[in-house]
């Protein structure tokens, strides 16, 4: 991260690919593909997460995501959502690599359906295997600085700690651990999951994260396209505030007008 670079040139790089948008958006839960595409456009995102699922053999003419969001213009980041062990996640990403033709993927191995909390033992095991097979995994993980370090050592190209459970919209629950992960990481850190509204996204960026990944906060807003715009602005505002360096907090007031010259 180059804090000295002019704001206009602000960008981040993951596994050798450089992006100017720090917002990654999911493509699930939208009413329809048109709204989904409009929200992606409004968010300014250059990366979208996508899932890998069976084709519907009984209806080959179902509309395809790729008809609405062009993978030549927007980087598709295949995920392993719904996988509860390393083997299923690895199998899914091998197929994703064949479907898309690239190695940059999002790994998530979930531990249980209720919380969708990551299973870090399986996540770490999957990361090791994927890296050996030439994948560049961005890894969803707990907000634990030690686990984050272990993932980085295993070859994760980005660390993506949850701010709160997936789809909960509760906002960042532990700012301290997110900050510690950011401070300790030599790869990009993105808050993935838990963002509910714009201030949550700004907060993630103010903590020094390289980006934010969200889906439900936009898709389940009453006006998803408007919320996508809000999130774009929030991520930019949070990033600028982080670069600008916030003032120190004080216990008491400090007047903004000079005391000298008072009548």
């Amino acid at each position: 991260m180059n804090v000295q670079s002019p704001v206009g040139a602000d960008s981040w790089t993951v596994a050798g690919r450089t992006f100017t948008s720090r917002l990654i958006v999911g493509t699930g839960k939208y009413k329809n593909l048109e709204e989904n595409a409009a929200a992606v456009e409004a968010s300014g995102a250059q990366i979208v997460t996508v899932a890998v699922r069976r084709v519907n053999v009984s209806n080959p003419n179902e509309p395809m995501l790729t008809d609405f969001i062009d993978p030549k213009k927007i980087t598709y980041l295949p995920n392993t959502a719904g996988c509860f062990n390393a083997d299923d996640a690895i199998r899914t990403l091998r197929l994703a690599r064949e479907a898309g033709g690239w190695n940059l993927v999002k790994l998530e191995v979930l531990g249980e359906a209720k919380t969708l909390y990551p299973d870090m033992r399986e996540t770490l095991r999957a990361t090791e295997v994927l890296v050996k097979e030439g994948f560049e995994p961005m890894v969803y993980c707990v907000d634990d600085p030690i686990a984050a370090k272990q993932l980085e050592e295993a070859g994760a190209v980005a660390i993506m700690p949850l701010g709160a459970p997936i789809g909960s919209g509760l906002g960042i629950q532990n700012r301290v651990t997110i900050r510690l992960i950011v401070e300790g990481a030599n790869v990009p850190v993105l808050v993935d999951a838990g963002v509910g509204t714009a201030s949550d996204a700004a907060q993630a960026m103010e903590l020094g994260c390289d980006g934010v990944l969200m889906n439900t906060a936009i898709a389940e807003a009453k006006e998803p396209v408007m919320m996508a715009r809000a999130m774009k602005a929030a991520v930019e505002a949070g990033r600028l505030a982080y670069l600008a360096g916030r003032m120190q907090k004080r216990r008491y007031a400090d007047p903004s007008s000079p005391l000298a010259g008072l009548i």
């Binding site: 084709v55 395809m64 091998r94």
Partner: protein
């Protein structure tokens, strides 16, 4: 294999009979999908797209045919 020159396979968990000797690419096309927009797994091994034309479907094969869909 049977006298009617078909083989039994599974596609995405469903049993199906197809013509003996058909290539995977032809199978995918026959199902109505563009082979360049899907990925195919055969008996738990990914079939590289470049070989879909060459690999023949065999009796008992278990296929998964997938594509990208919206997801978080």
């Amino acid at each position: 294999m049977t006298v009617d020159h078909t083989v039994q396979i599974r596609i995405n968990g469903e049993h199906r009979r197809v013509v003996e000797g058909i290539s995977i690419a032809a199978l995918v096309s026959e199902l109505g999908f563009d082979p360049v927009r899907v990925a195919v797994e055969r008996n738990l091994e990914v079939v590289p797209r470049s070989t879909l034309d060459d690999v023949k479907v065999e009796d008992g094969d278990d296929f998964e045919i997938v594509r990208f869909v919206g997801g978080g």
